[in-house]
Amino acid sequence: MTRQLLIITTVVLSLNASAILKLNGAGASFPYAIYSKWISEYSKSQEKVQINYQSIGSGGGIRQLIKQTVDFAASDAPMREKDKKKAAWPVLHVPTVLGAVVVAYNGKSIGNDLNIDGQVLADIFLGKITKWNDQAIKKLNPKRNLPDQEILVVRRADSSGTTSVFASYLADVSEEWKSKVGVGKSLRWPTGIGAKGNEGVTALVKQTEYAIGYIDLAHAKKNGIYTVNLKNGAGEYIKATVESISASAESFKTSGDDFTVSVINQKTKGAYPISAFTYFLLPLKKEKDQKISEVQNFFKWSLTKGQDFAAPLYYAPLPMNVRKAVVKKLDSL
């Protein structure tokens, strides 16, 4: 009885709220924190608009966009050609922030900021380098006293954009990785154990001595975990920071409307090599409705004012050149 009353009252209540325009978006979980921050800040100035973003995964977001159950989507990786064809409208990829994959490890006797290059990293994850005192690692860190211990590789078990970015970096630097494992959100791993989510990998690396894994920047910073300095295209060993990640997109050039160009392993000075854009996906409907224009307004805001909120949450803001190009494109619609 009370339950029925509750439902009746709630239905009545909900009728009053319909004057507000409600927008739904779904997709990648990596940028969930910054997006919800943006939405909250944006809605302070726009009281008539309610934006709801849920992190159900990039693949899930793309599927929702195709099934038209959401107004916009978000994805860590660009849509595949097949998926683009299935969508009812052309889809514009709007880069929002940059993310990076950080290689984290555990080992007091090793110390922080170990130098690693792409080839060595690939060999560790291929299971070819199995000990911390392997010659290849020693060569990059001649002053360090490396322990004679097995390396435990920890990797993501769930499908994830993080894995995809990491694998594309390894495929870029190692032919063997490219042919043996390949690139994808979930892989057939030659070695290691799988943990679920960045959280899972972080926990496992923290708990297990001599483990190595890859996680996002925020988890690495928040957990005070050891991270490697990775060799970039310019030959420098770079620590992952918000600045070094942003730097990787500085030399970015758009090819027309397409913002889905890789920024992995750039030759720019000071650029961290495993960085990638994360995107909003905007359906370009022919007849513009109010919803779409509100979504566009929100996107524009996030690319201008919104960028200032990124760094405190360990997301790398877009460099100026990218921001300008994207806003120009959005204005032209």
Binding site: L6, T10, S14, N24, S36, Q54
Partner: protein
């Protein structure tokens, strides 16, 4: 008669097993409790229950929308599943022979093993794709599929325990079968049946996977059944896997809240039955005194 050593030993061993098992079962619960309080206790405040969420870095965010959303969808889901589950349980225990009954029993067995994510996918295909919108109804429907088999199964097991001669005694009073079942068999085991129902509801209340693709989750308070709605488990999930301290604290506080809500529900159900009896006897006493 003196008990042989072997028998006495066996008996001691048995006692030890009993006590050990009980301790072993309770330990994880307390560890989880401790874990939740340690990590989330500091963010349990009035704000937590009366505010909607705030983004990382702003204090005072809460889970009001998720708590209410969970109540809403679990309530709606059990509104569908509990009566249906009771009916099916009654059918299995009272008319448990025949093709349809064995088909149903088989169905229920399979349904208990359906992973919650499959339930979510199913509800997604049925409701969300056809309505082109995530909705609380879809979430409630998915939860009802979780609740249904547990209620049915426990109802069947519990009603089977009512001895046959009790049912016959009911029939011998010249009551039609359905009245015997409803007013004697089911009513007589209502407090046991409650155990099953609560068990089912508590499980549904903690499920994330069926809600992710159906109710979707929301950052706002919503009451309309055809819109996305927040729920505690989804909110807990999103926050628990984030790297930010204040969100993680909120997640643990949320999980703690969820357990306390279920505890409250459980206590309420038990208390309700007890109180009713007390109330009746007091009333009875009173009326008799005035009559005399």
């Amino acid at each position: 008669m003196k008990i042989s050593r072997k028998r006495a030993l066996k008996n001691y061993f048995f006692y030890t097993c009993l006590i050990l098992s009980s301790i072993v079962v309770i330990i994880p619960l307390f560890m989880v409790f401790f874990f939740l309080l340690q990590k989330g206790g500091s963010s349990l405040s009035l704000d937590f229950f009366f505010n909607n969420p705030k983004p990382v870095g702003e204090i005072g965010g809460g889970m009001k929308h998720a708590i209410l959303g969970s109540f809403y969808m679990v309530g709606l889901g059990s509104l569908i599943a509990v009566p249906l589950g009771l009916v099916c349980g009654v059918y299995l225990s009272e008319f448990g022979k025949g093709k349809i009954a064995s088909l149903l029993r088989f169905t229920i067995d399979l349904l208990t093993g359906v992973p919650s994510i499959v339930v979510g996918i199913f509800a997604y295909l049925i409701f969300v794709v056809s309505m082109k919108s995530f909705s609380a109804i879809a979430g409630a429907f998915a939860l009802s599929i979780i609740i249904l088999p547990i209620v049915t199964r426990t109802t069947e097991e519990i009603l089977k325990l009512i001895p046959k001669h009790v049912k016959e005694a009911g029939l011998a009073l010249g009551l039609p079968r359905w009245k015997v079942i409803v007013f004697i068999v089911v009513k007589g085991s209502r407090s046991s049946l409650m155990t099953g129902i609560i068990l089912a509801i508590s499980r549904a209340a903690g499920e994330t996977a069926p809600l992710l693709f159906t109710a979707f989750g929301s950052m706002y308070l919503s009451y309309s059944p055809d819109e996305p709605m927040a729920s505690l488990p989804v909110q807990i999930y999103n926050y628990a896997i984030s790297p930010y301290d204040d969100w993680q604290k909120q997640a643990w506080a949320g999980a703690f809240t969820l357990i306390i809500i279920v505890l409250g529900l459980n206590l309420f159900a038990r208390f309700y039955f007890v109180r009713k009896d007390i109330y009746r006897s007091i009333k009875k006493l009173f009326t008799r005194q005035t009559k005399d």
